[in-house]
């Protein structure tokens, strides 16, 4: 048999890929608490819950045995599709495999940290202390986060619920994230990810565009893909017609 095989003879090919993936970082292993929070989120942003694949991160939990099957069932009830588990001890890994889920090793800092802060902030409204605020209200009047100063290389600034306003520059190697819009009153040289929970109506606005990466609801463009005539000038970024549209901001 010839070593050379054309694609017609092969049933499949393996390809490396980077897909946008939501990580659901569990602060509690109690399926009922998870259910209550999910129910609240569902009324806030129903668009997000459309059989969205999620990775359940149990890194912050310190429990050898989890009711993984029940947690998965709660997720599916709310149209979230658990595809894998991240972190946890050996028994958790084994039960993930038994449930037909993948298992990822725990991360060491880095990207995990962003979502950690995002999740930590999301979880606050359902704590009993702030119970009077209803989910619907917090969804409409999501807090805008204001950051004054330069966001420097290696730093991440995120607004887990609403918009993010940066009065200053976002330097190369820095990352700004928001559930809603991102406004940068300065040069945007780093990464800007708007609509991190899937809001495709979010946008990115900046005074000077040099962004390494722009993303709205998981749809991204790298600096290399950006028309060089748009660089160095005020710009706005939206998702329209199935792709990111970057326009001069006038």
């Amino acid at each position: 048999m010839s070593l050379k095989m054309d694609s017609a003879t092969m049933a499949f090919t393996f390809k490396g890929g980077m897909l946008p993936m939501t990580i659901m970082e569990l602060n509690s292993a109690d399926p009922e608490r998870i259910r209550r929070q999910l129910a609240g989120k569902l009324t806030q942003s129903p668009a997000f819950f459309q059989h969205t694949p999620v990775v359940l991160s149990v890194e912050k939990l310190d429990e050898p045995h989890l009711a993984l099957e029940r947690i998965c069932a709660v997720c599916r009830d709310h149209k979230l599709l658990p595809v894998a588990v991240k972190g946890g001890p050996e028994p958790v890994k084994q039960s993930a495999w038994a449930l037909g889920l993948g298992w990822f090793p725990p991360s060491d800092g880095g990207r995990g940290r962003i979502l950690e802060s995002v999740d930590a902030e999301i979880s606050q409204p359902v704590e009993p202390a702030s119970a009077p605020r209803s989910a619907a209200v917090s969804g409409e009047l999501a807090a805008t986060r204001l950051y004054r100063g330069t966001v420097r290389s290696g730093q991440q600034v995120s607004a887990a619920e609403g918009d993010l306003v940066v009065i200053g520059a976002v330097n190369a190697g820095a990352e700004v994230l928001a559930a809603g819009n991102i406004h940068v009153y300065g040069a945007l040289r780093g990464r800007a990810l708007a609509g991190i929970h899937g809001d495709l109506s979010a946008g990115v606005y900046c005074r000077e565009l040099h962004a390494e990466l722009l993303s709205v609801g998981g749809n991204y463009k790298r600096l290399e893909d950006i028309d060089s005539r748009l660089l160095g000038a005020p710009a706005e970024v939206h998702f329209s017609a199935e792709q990111l549209e970057i326009r001069p901001l006038v």
Binding site: T150, G154, Q155, A172
Partner: protein, 272 residues
């Protein structure tokens, strides 16, 4: 009240040790009692730049591990009064430093010195973080080059989050920008970032600008901090830098390219 100043950069080879030695010398020449500490354990260089390498007996690690007293390890500078050097160990690694040990040394030095300069190792790991942790002010040394600027930006992020002042929520560290190896001719030709570019990206106060100069290499190899070379452009630029550090308003020099005229070409003026 003694001031602890860290000289840092992220990137290696940009002139941290040269600057620490030159600024410490400049402060001592202005009558300030100054000590400069080499935090680059394992890659000891400051003693060479200061020209005291033959007089090193004990070092920072010996003091931290209780094998020598602080006064035994401090080396008195031969040229300037009021200047002392605390060398690093060449045979240990950075794990030999402890945060408590560093704090104890700095607290003791604070009682007798006006200025304590910490010469940071390159990188953003433990050694660099220990050097910056207790600082009141930071001098961020940057070359007019994109990678150096990005690394300085990273260090500025750490200064505002990983230092004692940041952790305890005290007044933030005072950050100063020191641009070194600046060559106005190459900047004009577009080979190097301009001073304005660097200042715009890093967005901190400019403390000084040191022109690229043969005097720096000569000074390093002779073990005489370039501040002593008062005729050289780099020596004068460091003297200006020290004046600004002491709060004086000194106009910026050496940042513009002067095309050499016939006379200066004949008599070899300008960069020496």
């Amino acid at each position: 009240m003694a001031k602890i100043i860290v000289v840092t950069s992220g990137k290696g080879g940009v002139g941290k040790t040269t600057s620490a030695a030159a600024i410490a010398t400049g402060l001592a020449l202005r009558g300030k009692k100054t000590v400069v500490i080499d935090f680059d354990v394992g890659l000891r260089n400051l003693d060479l730049i200061m020209g005291c390498e033959r007089r090193v007996v004990y070092d920072l690690v010996n003091v931290i591990q209780g094998e020598a007293g602080l006064n035994q390890a401090l080396i008195r500078d031969k040229r300037v009064e009021n200047l002392f050097i605390l060398p690093a160990s060449q045979t240990r690694d950075k794990d030999a430093l402890t945060q408590e040990g560093v704090e104890e040394i700095l607290d003791t030095l604070k009682e007798t010195f006006d200025y304590i300069l910490c010469d940071s190792p390159a990188g953003i790991e433990r050694g660099a973080q220990l050097a910056m942790y207790y600082a009141d002010e930071a001098i961020v040394v940057t070359n007019p080059e994109v990678s150096s600027v990005r690394d300085s930006d990273r260090i500025l992020g750490l200064l505002s989050s990983k230092t004692r002042r940041a952790v305890q929520g005290d007044d933030p560290i005072k950050e100063h920008l020191l641009v070194t190896r600046y060559n106005p001719e190459r900047v004009t030709q577009g080979d190097m970032l301009t001073l304005d570019d660097i200042r715009e990206i890093l967005a901190i106060d400019l403390l000084g600008l040191i022109p690229e100069s043969e005097a720096v290499l000569r000074a390093s190899n002779q073990g005489v901090p370039v501040t002593h070379d008062a005729d050289s452009d780099a020596g004068q630029a460091y003297t200006d830098t020290v004046s600004r550090l002491l709060g004086e308003d000194v106009p910026l020099r050496f940042h513009e390219w002067q095309k050499k005229g016939l006379l200066s070409r004949m008599f070899g003026g300008g960069r020496r």
